[in-house]
Symmetry: C2
Subunit: 344 residues, 2 copies
């Protein structure tokens, strides 16, 4: 049975109220704040109906109603209008990003800050592994007697480097030749496809520089082994301490623990495929530990793979604001990424 217009009004009213106060909302409050032209008793009847349908629940007999997760879901699906950040705020973000675009880490950091500051929830950004980006070029750069740097540049302009030892006799020209060799062989390949076996063929190509090639190969595989897989950046974790639902220390502890161990959050965010903003409310989350939290997140396309970003907060969340913000930010990230990177 679909909801009547009036029921929807009441549901929305209750949600808005509950989200801001964290208290069960009574029939009188609905009438008062919403200025609806009906009496409290009528509202009570409708509320009883809504509860029967599962959109509301009652903490105890003599309290007001609070929205159930199903209620939030209905709101999110049918009633919500995203509240996007003001032009001013967006402008501010653009501005802080512009001067520093060089360092991707920095960009991620700032975006996270923005997300968590605007929404007042914790934000997360999942950065795809560099292993998924493409090999652009490699250079071996002598820095002093017997030492050189292997510098690997990806198509996004990210640099990985590692120091290696080289024979003292080795000339810069030799190193250049070796570098070019790598470049010819590997350009355009995805880093994670660079198996040690594939690289071996290189080793045999130049017998007399074999040692250095070997060292460089070591360096590359070590770089790839050690470079993180997906990286998760969490910002504003402390925001959740404000939420009254976490005044229970145990709950708080559980949630903060999830945040502290980067690894955990990766498992919690679903592998999403949908376009646009996705929302997971409470128990919709598979993971036990965040069944009392909600996620609002979106994907963004980096050269190779999908990254994800969003906010995480209590079920009693300002979904409209979170969704609007995440939407805007994901669009901005896409923009940035399209202006970055190296030509193929």
């Amino acid at each position: 049975m679909p909801l009547t217009e009036r029921q929807r009004c009441i549901l929305e009213s209750i949600i808005k109220d509950y989200v801001s106060t964290a208290e069960p909302v009574g029939s009188r409050a609905v009438v008062k704040k919403h200025g609806l032209n009906i009496s409290a008793a009528t509202v009570r009847n409708e509320m009883a109906d809504l509860e029967e349908m599962g959109y509301l629940e009652q903490p105890h007999t003599s309290a007001g109603r609070i929205p159930s997760e199903k209620g939030f879901r209905y709101y999110v699906d049918f009633l919500m209008e995203n509240e996007i950040p003001s032009d001013e705020q967006i402008g501010l973000l653009h501005q802080t990003l512009d001067d520093r675009m060089q360092d991707w880490n920095d960009v991620v950091q700032r975006i996270g800050h923005f997300l968590s500051q605007i929404t007042n929830y914790a934000s997360f950004i999942i950065v795809p592994s560099v292993k998924l980006s493409q090999f652009h070029s490699l250079q071996i750069i002598p820095i002093q007697e017997g030492q050189a740097i292997v510098l690997l540049v990806t198509d996004l302009g990210i640099m990985l480097h590692r120091r290696i030892n080289i024979p003292s006799a080795m000339q810069p020209e030799d190193l250049k030749i070796i570098g070019d060799l790598f470049n010819r062989a590997l350009r355009g390949k995805k880093l994670h496809e660079l198996k040690r076996g594939d690289l071996m063929v290189l080793r045999d190509e130049i017998k007399n520089r074999r040692l250095v090639v070997e060292k460089a190969l070591d360096a590359i595989s070590s770089l790839l082994d050690n470079s993180q897989d997906e990286r998760v950046v969490i910002t504003g974790a402390l925001n959740i301490i404000k939420e009254p639902e976490f005044k229970d220390l145990d709950k708080l502890r559980k949630v903060l623990t999830i945040f502290e161990e980067d690894g955990q959050l990766k498992d919690i965010i679903p592998d999403k495929i949908t376009e646009g903003v996705d929302i997971r409310i409470g128990k919709e989350n598979k993971n036990e530990d965040i069944k009392e939290m909600s996620l609002v997140f979106a994907g963004y396309k980096t050269a190779g793979e999908m990254g994800k970003m969003g906010v995480i907060g209590p079920v009693r969340m300002e979904y409209w604001k979170a969704a609007g913000t995440v939407e805007s930010v994901s669009r901005i990230i896409d923009e940035i990424l399209n202006h970055r990177g190296l030509k193929k």
Copy 2:
């Protein structure tokens, strides 16, 4: 008036007990757990004396005693014996560090983890600004038509890099010449001394490559501007959530806020000069916000400057363990640093 042997025994006994239980300890408990051959009444008399001297205090008339900060200070200064981590634990740390020594960030991360895991408090490591290290070499590396990387290597082997645009016509040889120019002019100087003014002289040296030199200069000053000053790495912040003194949400919040904003902690750690482990108990800390916390920390010498590292926990801290661990780790860091870096 100096403490008698028996008073010291009692003080130590109370401290050990209080640290582990977080409850005021009564005269009976002292006799029982310490197995001292005196009666509770005697202990009571001694405790009254100790209180009068300021080493103990009483939360309320009918409770046991807890050590005052002065009491802890006495313990730390005269009674404490450091408890260093087991060989096994030290071995474990050495092991995790060995394979990855290439990346200083990683090393710091791991040391922080170790500290906080062993002590069960929050750990911090303050890494001196890279600006304080010395210029070792600079290279300008073409990566594709019209783009190059300015790569600056410090004496510790840390690399800073930034992409710049260059004229398409520019040859690799030209870039090398420019790089060498920088190297001759700057090798051995401290980065923070590289004022834009000093660099200007370079610009005029080669008129025809002026544009690139200019770009490289821009890149360097931008790198220096943007590279962080001191960096603070905090690990295990959540450990403090376990401590009963922070079951009050407001206190917890205050402390966690300090941890979240990296900047804050820098101001809190004293500029230390002493050799070995330093301890600041409660109000001995200048900063308002951590007057209920204690610091146990030590310095370590990196090539140029001093870094600091240690743990931060409640006043009711296992100082013996914290001090022992910090001492061991600082020694290990010194070792590592002495095996790193580039020759001058």
